[in-house]
Amino acid sequence: MQTANVNRLTPYLFMAPALIVMAVALMYPIGYMIYASFLNWNPSQRIGEAEWVGFSNYINLLQDDAFRESLWVTLKFAAIVVTLEMIIGVGLALLLDRNIRGMSVLRTIFILPMMIAPIVVGLMWRYMYHPTVGIFNRTLKSLGLEPIPWLSDGSWAFTSVIIADIWQWTPFIFILSLAALQSLPRSALEASRIDGATPWQQVIYIKLPLMMPVLIVTLLLRLIDAFKVLEVILVMTNGGPGLSTEILSLRINRTAAEFRELGEAAAMSNYLLILLLLLTVAMYLYNKAVEARAARLRAAAGGDA
């Protein structure tokens, strides 16, 4: 009797710590944030003392030029970065999908940029972009060219931030596409080769279509992460000059820490969350659709046999 009870309780005992921690430190804060977004609240007040203002934080934000600018910067940054990274990453994977010595060492080196702290990545790039001691301007100078205001001019700063992000995250796409390529069915490639397909035709008609499910998931994952970038830009430009590199995450941080408008920062967080939720739902539905299709195909194949 005693043991039977213990056995029935075991799963709950095993689950309990995880559920409690996540409820207290994840679910509760997110609910709290949604509540706070309807308040006019500054950090010196307790939340109970803050005034209820309904949707006015959300409406104010939509009319706020700085917020709209920052939203536009975020969208532009994510779109450019993810497009370029996908092209370079998938291209490199197609190029390097060969049987060569030392591939594992190469992959190890490629994942280094993703593993080290974003703060450090920002630091390295800020040093390299430095107007006088940085390697880029030094090289330009030794070639007799004009130095470039990498981080001190708005549009250059935006470009510089994009370059740093491409350096950091292209390997992610490369590694995933390489994994996808290496799991492709050899028979399809073999068959196409016998039918006389050129390498280009193989890439366009066989490899890319077969990789597509993984590529789309990779794209969405990367897109979600691109909206979360914060530290690298914080260290490199801190959003400046002006608002040229102030992405939403940075703006949330500034609204909370500098302007001390916690309610507005919460409303901003909610906008960002809604954006990301849409992306995530798209990804989940896509996964489900792919699974359903695979199941149908299997069933059809089973029926034939």
């Binding site: 921690v21 702290a117 450090v120 390299m128 992610f172 939720l277």
Partner: protein, 290 residues
């Protein structure tokens, strides 16, 4: 068998490989070199690869942790040394806690199946989506006013454990599913209780999964800046926070700051070289199955 034979490639291909390696490792090597230079060498026009390496910058950064007093340090700034200790404590504790709690939950989910795998993968996905910036306001408010945990290491550890749990549960689940149930039944026949079965039979088998999960957790806890910045006070600051604080607009001491950056980068780099296979497994699994 294909491991032994390699295709011959043309030279342009190798040139491309070399260029890629230089591009991805170059900035890191440059940081290492800068951290070994004196400020005179950093500023001088001719400087490049020719300089006398020195560990002075590291001595300055870690002056209060050394057993001797370096004579070039006139004033010992204890900030970094303290932050390094904080970072180590916070990252290690939260990794251990996340793994223990996450393992148990993953095991319960697989073996007792009272919640579908779909629920877990959906939660993981949703949690992966939440940016730390979104947690900033609520975590600051709750930790300060309700839990009274602001400025303590415990508070920071709690957020990190919660942030990492979904991913850890999810990845361990995929490893636990592969453990043959017969093994556990045999152990139970021999009189082992559920906890014994878990700790003595299951855990040793899923070691590779534990390695992958612990590297990912450690990396997040070690590298995280935003929440630590909001929660920590002078005594509980972590390394990323001190690095950002010491970055002023002008007159940055590049040698010392690169040395601190290098110290922050070293543990993840070591893990990458030891366990790149597990990391890649974790990364691909995370994307391919969503």
């Amino acid at each position: 068998m294909s491991d032994k034979t390699y295709d011959r490639q043309n030279p342009a291909f190798y040139a491309l490989l070399v260029a890629l390696v230089i591009m991805s490792a170059g900035p890191i090597v440059m940081m290492l070199m800068t951290s070994l230079k004196l400020n005179v060498d950093i500023m001088s026009d001719t400087a490049g690869l020719l300089f006398v390496p020195t560990i002075r910058n590291y001595e300055t950064a870690m002056c209060n942790l050394l057993w001797y007093t370096p004579d070039h340090v006139q004033f010992c700034d204890k900030t970094f040394g303290r932050a390094l200790i904080n970072s180590l404590i916070i990252a290690i504790t939260s990794t251990v806690l996340t793994l223990v709690i996450g393992c148990m939950a993953a095991y319960a989910l697989v073996r007792f199946r009272f919640m579908g795998r779909d629920t877990v993968s959906l939660t993981t996905l949703l949690m992966r989506m939440v940016p730390p910036a979104v947690l900033l306001v609520p975590v600051f408010g709750i930790w300060t006013f309700q839990f009274q945990l602001d400025g303590t290491r415990v508070g920071i550890i709690l957020v990190y454990v919660a942030m990492n749990l979904p991913f850890v549960i999810w990845i361990l689940q995929s490893f636990i599913i592969q453990v043959p149930i017969q093994l556990e039944e045999a152990a139970r026949m021999d009189g082992a209780g559920p906890f014994q079965v878990f700790f003595l039979v299951v855990l040793p088998i899923i070691k590779p999964g534990l390695a992958a999960a612990s590297i990912f957790t450690f990396r997040v806890a070690w590298n995280e800046f935003l929440l630590a910045n909001a929660l920590a006070d002078r005594n509980s600051r972590t390394v990323p926070v001190t690095i950002v604080n010491s970055l002023t607009e002008y007159d940055i001491d590049w040698g010392v700051i690169m040395a601190t950056g290098m110290l922050l980068a070293v543990p993840p780099i070591i893990f990458t070289f030891i366990a790149s296979r597990q990391i890649i497994t974790g990364m691909t699994a995370g994307a391919v199955k969503g």
